[in-house]
Amino acid sequence: MDSKPEPILTCTHVWKLFGRNPEQFIAEHPQITDELLARNALIGAVRDANIEVAEGEIFIIMGLSGSGKSTLLRCLSRLIEPTHGQVMFEGEDLLKHSEKQMIQIRRHKMGMVFQHFALMPHLTVLGNVAFPLEVQGIDRIKRERRAREVIELVGLQDRESYYPRELSGGQQQRVGIARSLCVEPKIWFLDEPFSALDPLIRREMQDEFLRIQSMLSKTIVFITHDFNEAVRLADRIAIMKDGAIIQIGTPEELIINPADDYVEEFTNDLSRAKVFTAKTVMGPHNPGISTGGQVSGNTKIQDLAEDLIRSELPFDVVDHNHTVIGQLSRDAVIDVLVKQP
């Protein structure tokens, strides 16, 4: 990220422990270690999580099953009460809110998409999408008008009167997406939204997701266990293991500078050309050398491959103001792509 906007959602030192008297345990132990947890028969589902999500950012929490990513997400919306820590949303501490205030915040500011869609079986597509507004007590004509708008946004306009069981998995999740966007949330939680879908559909839905996001620019917290999906969609990724966040960074940062072997393990299989941009790979600007042309710093290496093969000469890399910020040579590209970790 070039400029750093104010974070809209931060969580600091969030812990979620399961077991007996976890609050007391945290209060008594300033330094918590694995052995200490084991000795007290406590399970650390989330351990000292710190994240900051900026406005308009796609923030992805990636981890394998049991890594605590879903628990962390639910701590952010207080579906699960964190044992300890602070969750700030728009400058207010969520954990200090009463149940009533939380209901209001969830009604108007949060939207969530679920792994298994969580559609109401007895309601039509229209009824499902309008449900969050119905709960708010908005009259039928108004809420159905709004619901039709979002249904159109996800491309299901001809399926409004269908029941969930009559839809394919991909279509069901489109309903889930439409429903979560119906209230125009400030923050959009997606809990492994595409994990239950077939690979081809998953890809299609990822494209759909990016399309919708390009129109709406929501602040997003997205959970996945699929590193490829994370790299494809994320502005920044947090990698979790055993309840702790190991590393937070842009996809490129994770690949260039993995915090440990565990992170590196994920990055190994990745096609670097798809992730790296010219900006990352470029060398310093050298005005003396003649160049083959200009490329934008945000272009992926993969998309430059043809130019690089065609031209012997290096390219000038420019930023969005067309100022030259560096130089991209074929050798540098090859170096990065084939470099063994």
Binding site: R74, S77, L79, M102, I103, Q104, I105, R106, R107, H108, M110, G111, M112, F114, Q115, H116, F117, A118, M120, P121, H122, L123, T124, L126, G127, F131, P132, E134, V135, Q136, S161, Y163, V183, F189
Partner: protein, 675 residues
């Protein structure tokens, strides 16, 4: 319990149990052999009584219960703000009022006062109109097949002359079912919301479902007197527990994501319950509704003993007259009502609501179908004044198969009397009598030791304590001998039913063509009211323990077949394929794979068979057994609450002992198989 012995440690473990069993059996045999020395142990003890000044007439468990109910009724207890008597009267009024309306509507017609002490009796709803409306409803809900079935079932009631009785029975059901559903669902919702409440009601529900039906009748009779109100009250009490359970279960099985979704869109607690949880749990709740209907139908027949009237009374009367034909026809009528209600509610539940559109403005337009139905009913009823055919199926066209059945039984009795008698006598002398003598001869401390040991091995110390406590209750209330007769009749019936059930189940699972007829047959057996079984049995074998056994076996057969079939069919096909590719013959496949893997389910089937057998056994008191059932029956005729409840509880405790032991064994086996 044989488990996969993999380590030396476990091997020793199994052996130490074997040793313990040997010691226990030796001890029991010792007590039995030394019967002269320890006569107190061999003879069943008398009822435990005590004399404590402060407790007054409460000198034994039985008398305490009786005293308690007397105390409640005699204006001494208060259910704020009324006395208990006023309370029961209020309840009775709440039942009586809707019952009378529905009964007048469908069965007897309304009595309209005309002044000068004269009344005019309006006709009940026309049978023709009702048949037509129900048929059309069935068609609208599903298809012409359901419509045809409903038509035939309802027409049967008219043609066989059961219409009025059926209408009376239906009135009881129509009052009992909604009350059962509303109360059951409410308690269920509370149980779901408050875990402590659930834990408190679970044992009560367990007990309610195991106490035999007759035993309910005694206190209800005492509180509400003889009549339809008592019958409805007993029906509600009997039919409610499954609704409570299924409500809790249905709400619990709503996917976690749906609950989270409800929270995320900001539902209040009330919205969460009514807008999210209940609609999402609807299929499970409908199973509960269905159960309430089925159990109510079952109970309302038995409740005829305390004045329910209707079809149940017809069956009971024909049992007393030994008119098998009439009884069978009335019994089938009940089954048909059950089928119609069952299918219609299921069709209604699975029908998807119409797509949302703006509601039309006027009442008639909004409820077009309802208005049409009312119009049809009204017109056909009015037409009854002009043409009697509309009011009632002509008596001379009524069909009865009664004579045929009576002749059939007579013919069998004349031609095969010796054969039947020979079978009966042989079984009585060689199996029933020796088993009975053996069980009655068992010293009670020995039985307690064996039960405790079984409990200890299968479920640990808590199970052992529970089992011994249940058995001790029977002991101190002085019902040991009668309980042993119950155990003996039940045991023999269960063994027989299980053997037949296993065989039928295995055969049906192997030959797919047989599966459907078998399922239809056991479904029919299961929906026939329990009284009906007694009819042919009594007429062929006359009263006595043998007749009771045959009736119980018939009644307890369905679960044995069903669970065997289910157990074999739920085995993963890949395991069967694995066995086949390893070269198993059909016999090996059955013996080495299917039966072993189906064992936990088969055990649960046995468990259900025991429950069914016990509930039927109590009813067989009508044909002269001398067990706990007879005790309950006597109490019912004397309205002796203490005696009835104590005997009923004893039956329930026998059921609980077997249920807990068998379930624990099945669970252990399942764990050993890693399922």
């Amino acid at each position: 319990m044989k488990t996969a012995v993999s380590t030396a440690e476990r091997f020793e473990f199994t052996h130490s149990w074997l040793f313990a069993w040997l010691v226990a059996i030796a001890a029991v045999a010792g007590i039995w052999a030394g019967g002269d020395l320890w006569s107190w142990a061999v003879k069943a003890p008398k009822e435990l009584t005590w004399k404590i000044e402060a407790l007054g007439s409460c000198t034994s468990v039985r008398l305490c219960v009786t005293g308690f109910f007397k105390f409640m009724v005699n204006n001494e207890a208060y259910v704020f703000p009324w006395t208990f008597k006023e309370f029961t009267r209020a309840v009775a009024a709440c039942i009586e009022f809707p019952y009378q309306i529905i009964r007048s509507l469908f069965a007897s017609g309304f009595a309209v006062p005309l002044g000068d002490g004269q009344t005019w009796q309006s006709p009940p709803v026309s049978w023709l109109g009702l048949t037509a409306v129900l048929t059309v409803v069935a068609y609208r809900l599903r298809d012409w097949k359901l419509a045809l079935m409903v038509f035939l079932c309802v027409a049967y009631l008219a043609v066989f002359g059961n219409w009025e009785s059926a209408a009376i029975t239906f009135s009881s059901i129509a009052v009992a079912v909604p009350i059962g559903i509303v109360f059951g669902a409410t308690i269920g919702i509370f149980g779901y919301r408050y875990e402590k409440f659930e834990r408190a009601i679970t044992p009560i529900l367990d007990l309610m479902q195991t106490v035999p039906i007759f035993a309910y009748l005694v206190p209800v009779l005492f509180l509400f007197g003889f009549g339809p109100v008592s019958a409805v009250a007993a029906t509600v009490i009997y039919a409610m527990p499954p609704m409570v359970r299924l409500t809790i279960l249905a709400l619990k099985t709503v996917p976690g994501e749906i609950k989270e979704f409800g929270k995320m869109v900001g539902c209040t607690k009330r919205q969460m319950t009514w807008r999210v949880l209940i609609p999402a749990a609807a299929p499970g709740l409908m199973v509960g509704v269905n159960q309430v209907i089925m159990l109510s139908l079952n109970m309302v027949i038995i409740a005829s003993m305390i004045g329910a009237g209707g079809l149940g009374f017809d069956v009971l009367a024909s049992l007393r007259r030994q008119a098998i034909g009439d009884g069978l026809e009335a019994g089938i009528a009940i089954t048909l009502i059950a089928i119609v209600l069952d299918r219609l509610t299921q069709a209604w539940a699975s029908k998807s609501p119409a797509p949302s559109s703006d509601p039309p403005p006027t009442f008639l337009q909004r409820h077009r179908n309802l208005s049409l139905a009312i119009a049809v009913l009204l017109l056909t009823t009015l037409a009854g004044f002009l043409w009697p055919f509309f009011a009632q199926w002509p008596t001379h066209l009524e069909v009865s198969t009664g004579q045929f059945w009576n002749d059939l039984i007579k013919w069998i009795n004349i031609n095969f009397f010796d054969e039947l008698e020979a079978v009966k006598v042989f079984l009585l002398l060689n199996i029933l009598k020796p088993v009975k003598a053996f069980l009655l001869g068992l010293p009670w401390p020995g039985v307690l030791i064996l039960l405790a040991l079984a409990g200890l091995q299968l479920g640990g110390i808590r199970l052992a304590l529970l089992v011994v406590a249940c058995a001790s209750f029977i002991l101190i209330t002085g019902q040991w001998t009668k309980a042993m007769i119950t155990v003996y009749l039940c045991g023999i019936s269960v063994v027989t039913a299980t053997l037949i059930g296993l065989t039928v189940g295995i055969i049906a699972s192997r030959y797919q063509i047989l599966k459907k007829p078998v399922l239809v047959f056991i479904d029919t057996l299961q929906t026939l009211p329990s009284f009906v079984y007694l009819l042919p049995v009594v007429m062929l074998f006359r009263v006595g323990e043998f007749s009771a056994m045959v009736a119980v076996v018939l009644y307890a057969l369905p679960p044995a077949v069903r669970y065997t079939l289910y157990g074999i069919e739920q085995i993963s096909p890949s395991l069967i394929e694995a066995a086949k590719t390893s070269g198993c013959t059909k016999r090996q496949l059955l013996a080495k794979v299917q039966i072993r893997l189906a064992w936990p389910e088969i055990m649960l089937g046995v468990n259900q068979t025991v429950m069914f057998a016990l509930s039927m056994l109590v009813i067989t008191a009508l044909v002269g057994t001398r067990d706990l059932g007879q005790e309950v029956y006597i109490a019912l005729t004397k309205a002796d609450t203490g005696r009835g409840l104590v005997a009923g509880l004893s039956v329930a405790f026998i059921a609980i002992i077997t249920d807990r032991l068998i379930s624990a064994a099945a669970r252990k086996r399942k764990q050993a198989l890693g399922l």
